[in-house]
């Protein structure tokens, strides 16, 4: 049998059918010399979604991804160690006062991007965050009105058949979620009990996994391995939603294709991409280039594509490429319950409390956080435990033996955009000769006040729910910023459509566009930006403004 990590699957006029073992779907192909309308780098929440919509709007699209093209049914084991194959494991040099942990903690490398192993939490932003500076007095304003994004949230939720509660307790009213909410597991009910004791609301998490069948995808069977890939296709990831749509609409997907540079022509426009596939360096010509590699790889590619005319890297006249890297504070409190919780059953986060995203009174910090119930797999939890506490020996084994009685609450906490938090190119290179990224990250004083507040609150919630032996852990999740959108070429990299100010046919479409990061998981907002960008591109093309 061929190995999808080394042998091409999307080639010879066909691509994997992700819903059937060993099966294929037809795929249109373009030659390297054919000038396609759009060459997209990365096929995750941003790139995969955009590729599908652009193809559906009639554009010729090639989307490349460094990672393999999986068929979940035949390739995914129920095993944490084996499934490391889903992650971006190449070295990233991590420094600063609070170095970010990369790899399994925050980035994927697959057709479908990080959504192949994401935890399916599908939340919308609080409307005021899109105007954080003018409405709330911190951070920056986005160049897009919240109502427009909220319309695209509804569209993304429908495309992914999000399962959510009938009424969501925070923010403006929203329509019904396409699919009903899942039954809440015991770990989720611990959060509910704690929240009720403290007098704050809670809700079932809207989740990107099916609560009823959809086409060839079955409903979730609560196996709990979501973070290492869903082997049943219940999870609605880009791999089994937008990628099949992209193929059906005539886009070409290239697996195992790593882009090293964007090529520039004499007229100040991009002319295509340089990429490596199957041991060969190749060039794809394109009228437009879109970079969707996530908040480290996107700026890395722009910086590595520097030319004599743009020596600081492409689209970097503002100096903002790679700056204002944000991650979410991901601090947690864990406890031991009298009850058997068996938190490995079901998606890892089934309930959420967004109280501190919508309540501004009584805080000694700017920004907000959500906290969610937890259900980590054994090795994942053991790693968090040892790196935070230094616990080892029989004490560790005996503590882990309480696994079935554990419950935990973890935040997605807003972090401020700071120019010192950044990614640059180092002087060391990877196996293809591309400079490795060096990342510098430190939590600000405000960020620290935020997570301290959350730890206190979650301690009280867990204690009220009956937990003892509490342990705190610090961590980070998600990556955002580094190529922020804005209203002016002087202090942002792109406009609201993701079009770079400096190079009119170079676009960005992924988490790096975020000017601020809000207190919820990012993927729904990335989907919304991608769907919006595709519609804007169609409109601009119609007016002859591409």
């Amino acid at each position: 049998m061929s190995n999808p990590e080394t042998d091409l699957r999307a080639t010879n006029g066909r691509a994997p059918d992700v819903f059937r073992r060993g099966a294929w779907v037809p795929m249109r192909e373009y030659s390297d010399d054919e000038e396609v309308d759009f060459a997209v780098v990365g096929t995750g929440a941003g790139g995969g979604t955009l590729a599908a919509r652009l193809a559906e709007h009639g554009f010729k699209v090639v989307a490349l991804d460094a990672g393999p093209f999986w068929r979940p049914l035949e390739d995914f084991a129920s095993d944490e160690k084996e499934q490391n194959k889903l992650y971006w494991l190449q070295d990233r040099i991590s420094g600063g006062q609070h170095p970010i942990e990369f790899g399994a903690n925050n980035s994927g490398r697959s057709v479908g991007g990080s959504t192949v192993h994401f935890q399916m939490v599908a939340l919308r932003w609080r409307p005021e965050w899109f105007a954080a500076r003018s409405k709330l007095g911190y951070g920056r304003d986005w160049p897009i009105d919240w109502r427009e994004i909220w319309r695209y949230y509804a569209e993304a939720e429908d495309a992914l058949k999000i399962s959510g509660p009938i009424s969501y307790p925070w923010g403006p009213p929203r329509g019904r979620y396409p699919y009903r909410a899942h039954e809440i597991n015991a770990a989720g009910l611990v959060l509910a009990k704690g929240a009720e004791a403290l007098g704050v609301k809670w809700a079932a998490v809207p989740l990107s996994t099916l609560s009823a069948p959809r086409g060839k995808a079955p409903p979730c069977v609560y196996r709990g391995f979501c973070k290492v890939g869903c082997s049943t296709n219940a999870k609605q990831s880009v791999l089994n939603t937008f990628i099949p749509r992209a193929l059906a609409a005539g886009a070409e997907i290239r697996d195992l294709a790593t882009v090293s540079q964007i090529e520039m022509g004499s007229g100040g426009r991009a002319t295509g991409l340089v990429y490596h596939r199957q041991g060969q360096w190749r060039r794809q010509r394109a009228r437009h280039v879109v970079v969707s590699g996530y908040a480290i790889e996107t700026p890395r590619l722009l910086l590595n594509s520097a030319t004599a005319q743009q020596p600081q890297g492409l689209a970097n006249s503002s100096g903002m490429v790679g700056k204002c890297l944000m991650t979410h504070a991901n601090h947690a409190v864990w406890g031991v319950m009298e009850d058997e919780i068996r938190w490995y059953k079901g998606p890892p986060s089934m309930t959420v409390c967004e109280h501190w995203n919508y309540e501004d009174r009584g805080k000694d910090f700017h920004g907000g956080y959500a906290f969610m119930s937890q259900g980590p797999l054994p090795a994942d939890h053991a790693k968090a435990l040892v790196s935070n506490t230094g616990m080892f020996g029989m004490q560790l084994r005996q503590h882990m033996a309480l696994y079935n009685h554990m419950a935990g609450l973890k935040i997605v906490g807003e972090v401020e955009p700071h120019e010192n938090n950044r990614i640059e190119l180092s002087d060391q290179t990877d196996e293809l000769g591309i400079p490795l990224p060096r990342i510098t990250f430190s939590f600000s004083e405000n960020d620290q006040r935020l997570y301290k507040h959350s730890l206190q609150f979650m301690r009280r919630a867990l204690e009220s729910a009956g937990a003892s032996n509490l342990i705190e852990t610090a961590s980070t999740a998600h990556l955002m910023g580094t190529c922020r959108m804005g209203t002016s070429a002087s202090d942002s990299v792109t406009n609201a459509d993701g079009r770079t100010w400096d190079i009119p046919n170079l676009w960005i479409c992924d988490g790096s566009l975020f000017p601020t990061c809000g207190g919820v998981n990012p993927s729904m907002t990335i989907y919304a930006l991608a769907l919006r960008a595709a519609d804007r591109i169609k409109a601009l093309a119609g007016r002859g403004e591409l």
Partner: protein, 212 residues
């Protein structure tokens, strides 16, 4: 002082589910290899290997097992293949170098303190040495620009537990359901168990474990 592990799930073995709908073909082949194809030492030298093995024994002591779950061979194999974790801490040398230098430094620290090899120290001495790494209280010159605490927590401890808790024996001892595809679970409420999940031994053993 003898070390003991209190098993709350003495009757439970995830491997009993091998032929059931909880295990699919991919998972069986992955776990089969893990159980039976233990790699040879190829990355560390002999002395480093002795140190590493002794370190793993103290992080995950397995006195009750005649055949302990192998840990060091998998660390060696990953480093030999040059497979990274995605993070290279700026304060530490590249991962392979950190491991080699770290094992040498542990040995040097043992020689400095006890004039004996780390793997020849008794348990209490070994634990004390590891604990002082975690407190950044090491003295040997070999630690030069290798911060012992970061190395211990972020490199060593993480790697060891990642391997141990990927082994069916570890899944069984904590009552984890283990592989679950295509069959997942039906009963999600507290204190409810599907028939194919572990039965917890109560209350005597359990009571001792939950400090109330």
């Amino acid at each position: 002082m003898s070390e003991q592990f209190t098993n709350l799930y003495p009757e439970y073995d995830v491997l009993d589910k091998w032929e059931t709908p909880s295990w699919n073909e991919v998972t069986r082949s992955v776990v089969q290899k893990r159980l039976h194809e233990i790699p040879e030492r190829r990355f560390f030298n002999e002395q480093q290997w002795l140190t590493l093995t002794a370190v793993c024994d103290r992080i995950i002591p397995q006195p009750e097992r005649s055949q302990p779950v192998p840990i060091a061979p998998w660390i060696d194999a990953r480093l030999f293949k040059g497979q990274g974790t995605g993070t290279r801490y700026a304060s530490l040398p590249p991962e392979q170098e950190s491991w080699r230098r770290g094992m040498d430094a542990i040995e040097a620290e043992a020689q400095h303190r006890y004039r004996r090899s780390f793997h020849r120290l008794d348990r209490v001495e070994q634990d004390r040495l590891l604990r002082s790494m975690d407190n950044n209280e090491v003295e040997a010159a070999a630690w030069q620009d290798l911060p012992s605490k970061s190395f211990f927590r972020h490199v060593v401890l993480r790697a060891v537990v990642e391997i141990y808790y990927a082994h069916p024996a570890a899944w069984s001892e904590i009552g984890f359901g283990g592989p679950a595809s295509p069959r997942g679970y039906v009963r999600l409420d507290a204190n409810r168990r599907d028939q194919w999940e572990a039965i917890e031994q109560k209350p005597a053993a359990a009571q001792r474990l939950y400090p109330k």
